[in-house]
């Protein structure tokens, strides 16, 4: 079975130098019991990823320059994608505080760099995902028909409020932009029930539960995938915050129905990024 990991960042020095310099990120590693991998060239990362059984990753940029001075440029993400087009799906990092600059960069990243979506970290700049300053960016993504990855689970980081991790603001965004594809990163825990409900009620909301797959209570996400949202639960490791190989092995042992596991680990993401011709009616709609 092929696997797409919808949230992973290569442990190149461009990424690792930022992680190493951030006390908040170090706290995440400590709390989650993971060790920070050493920097390595991109081809080593690709080899590790293949060994873990992952065929493609979604590699997200991150721009929180206005508040944290933190940035992985979208040009860098695009360069990774062009080096490994069969393995890397590049998604642009957009700083929610850059106003019109955020809109322009979204357009440039998608239309000029060819990136396949955008990623925002509202919690990192102290805003909720339904903040008005993000609405122009959502509008453009809906118009361009590319997904928005929204980080909503900053749980192990002590700085931001836990409420930034709630999926509730996503419900408003999905209501206001009913065709916008939204992927909630780290979305499935601890607000699992709410995340499932919001995904169930909106046809274009997706989520993944990276780093929280095995938390007590996260079983609900597996049960939801097996029943009401088989098409919109996705697999991600959040590498380097969790090891790829071990995560894949453990995730496959979760009690998914076999056809659902295949959807979660591959087909849903392939559908989201239009890697294959559409596979027919979405089962989420067949329920009604």
């Amino acid at each position: 079975m092929e696997i797409i990991d919808v949230r992973a960042r290569p442990n190149t020095k461009e990424y690792m130098s930022l992680f190493e310099a951030s006390p908040g990120i170090q706290m995440v590693f400590r709390k989650m019991g993971a060790s920070m991998p050493a920097s390595a060239p991109i081809d080593e990362f690709i080899r590790d990823m293949r060994e873990a059984g992952i065929s493609r990753i979604v590699c997200t940029g991150r721009d929180i320059e206005t508040t944290g001075g933190w940035k992985v440029t979208n040009d860098y993400v695009a360069s990774l994608m062009s080096q490994y087009p069969a393995h890397i799906i590049g998604v642009a990092g957009i700083d929610p505080l850059k106003g019109s600059g955020a809109v322009k960069e979204t357009f440039r990243a998608v239309r000029e760099l060819g990136l396949k979506g955008i990623s925002i970290d509202p919690f990192a700049v102290g805003m909720y995902a339904n903040d008005r300053r993000l609405y122009p960016v959502y509008e453009l993504c809906a118009e361009l028909d590319v997904p928005v990855f929204i980080t909503i689970g900053p749980l192990p980081v002590a700085g931001p409020y836990l409420s930034f991790g709630s999926p509730m603001p996503i419900d408003e965004v999905a209501t206001d932009f009913s065709r916008l594809k939204i992927v909630c990163s780290h979305g499935g825990w601890p607000f699992s029930r709410e995340m499932v409900a919001i995904t169930f009620r909106h046809d274009y909301v997706y989520f993944e539960t990276s780093v929280y797959h095995f938390m007590p209570g996260a079983e609900l996400c597996v049960e939801a995938a097996n029943t009401c949202i088989p098409d919109r639960y996705l697999f991600a490791t959040a590498f380097p915050f969790a090891p790829m190989k071990e995560t894949v092995q453990r995730f496959r042992k979760l009690p998914f129905k076999p056809d659902v596991l295949e959807k979660v680990m591959y087909k849903n993401a392939a559908d989201l990024f239009k890697l294959e011709p559409a596979a027919g009616t979405r089962s989420g709609r067949q329920l009604f």
């Binding site: 106003g99 019109s100 809109v103 322009k104 339904n130 903040d131 008005r132 300053r133 993000l134 609405y135 122009p136 959502y138 509008e139 453009l140 809906a142 118009e143 206001d176 932009f177």
Partner: protein, 319 residues
């Protein structure tokens, strides 16, 4: 004066005046004593020329989701196409329509060649800083066109909330979109001082105070124009609900400094609309022509204001 730009005029076509029958304005119209009547656009143009109004801003208005009423932008376009020397158009959009509103902005500017966009937050039942309006602002900023926001008490408009377009709310929009030129129509009345403060602090905020010139407290608008915000205030009549001939009489009596009067009646609006005066004009009168195609670079020029001299009292009370 023979060179006047009126920033708020609506021709009395059947499409425009039908608003007097809609619940949105029905009671307000009774209160101001407006009697609905249609009249040909030619008639308005003749009157404007006689009165010295060289150019007027005509706005579409889309209140479909809240009041089931609109004046289509195509109707506005048909008027401006017939009288391109007399009118410029601002497209009306309903922010409750989401992405459709943003697409309409693009259509108005790129296809219909409008000069700007107009919204009426208190009639859309949204604060001017509501997230539903933000994609519209971003699109206007991207296209380099101004947005008009209708403010004011909106007397008797059912279910309307005056604060939706309060100056303090506009302040947030102006801060979030520094590239966007914002024209607040009706001057944020009754928050006169606040309106003056917001126009003073943001290079991108302008206002007219049409219909409220003679209200108690409105003297401050003139005083502020004469002292600290001479470049930020615009003449508008709100015709036909305030007949521009009456309105012009009011403005003649307002105690502007002479250089300020010219800015209010013409120059500030000309900068926002990017029109120039050509000296060789027919009928012995200056004519305004649209500038050559293309966006002018960046911000509407703002000459700054003599804050220091005001604070020191060296310019007195102006009026």
């Amino acid at each position: 004066m023979t060179n006047i730009i009126d920033f708020r005029v609506r021709p009395s076509t059947a499409e425009f005046v039908s608003i007097a029958d809609n619940p949105v304005f029905k009671d307000m119209m009774k209160w101001i004593g407006y009697e609905k009547k249609t009249s040909p656009v030619e008639h308005l143009v003749r009157e404007m020329e006689t009165a010295g109004i060289s150019l007027a801003v005509v706005q579409g208005r889309d209140l479909e989701t809240t009041f089931g009423w609109k004046v289509s932008n195509d109707h506005v376009a048909s008027i401006v196409q017939r009288f391109p020397r007399n009118f410029v158009a601002f497209g009306g959009v309903d922010p409750n329509k989401g992405m459709e509103a943003v697409r309409e902005v693009q259509r108005c500017i790129e296809k219909l060649k409008f000069k700007g966009i107009s919204m009426d937050p208190y009639m859309h039942r949204r604060y001017a800083n509501d997230k539903k309006l933000y994609p519209v602002y971003a699109k206007c900023a991207e296209l380099g066109v101004p947005v008009i926001l209708t403010s004011g008490p909106g007397a008797f408009v059912p279910g309307s909330v005056m604060e939706h377009t309060a100056p303090r709310v506009i302040d947030e929009v102006a801060a979030d979109f520094p590239e966007l030129t914002i024209v607040v129509s009706h001057g944020g009345f009754p928050w006169v001082t606040e309106m003056v403060g917001v126009a003073m602090r943001h290079v991108n905020v302008f206002f007219d105070w049409s219909a409220y010139e003679l209200m108690p407290g409105a003297e401050l608008y003139v005083q502020a124009a004469n002292t600290i915000i001479a470049d930020k205030v615009l003449y508008a009549s709100a015709h036909p609900f305030v007949d521009f001939k009456e309105s012009l009489k009011r403005y003649e009596k307002l105690p502007f400094n002479e250089d300020v009067r010219e800015k209010v009646m013409f120059r500030n609006a000309a900068r926002i609309l990017k029109v120039e005066v050509s000296v060789a004009a027919p009928a012995g009168r200056a004519r305004m022509e649209p500038r050559a195609e293309g966006r002018s670079e960046g911000q509407v020029y703002y000459s700054g204001s003599p804050f220091v001299s005001v604070l020191q009292g060296s310019r007195g009370q102006g009026a």
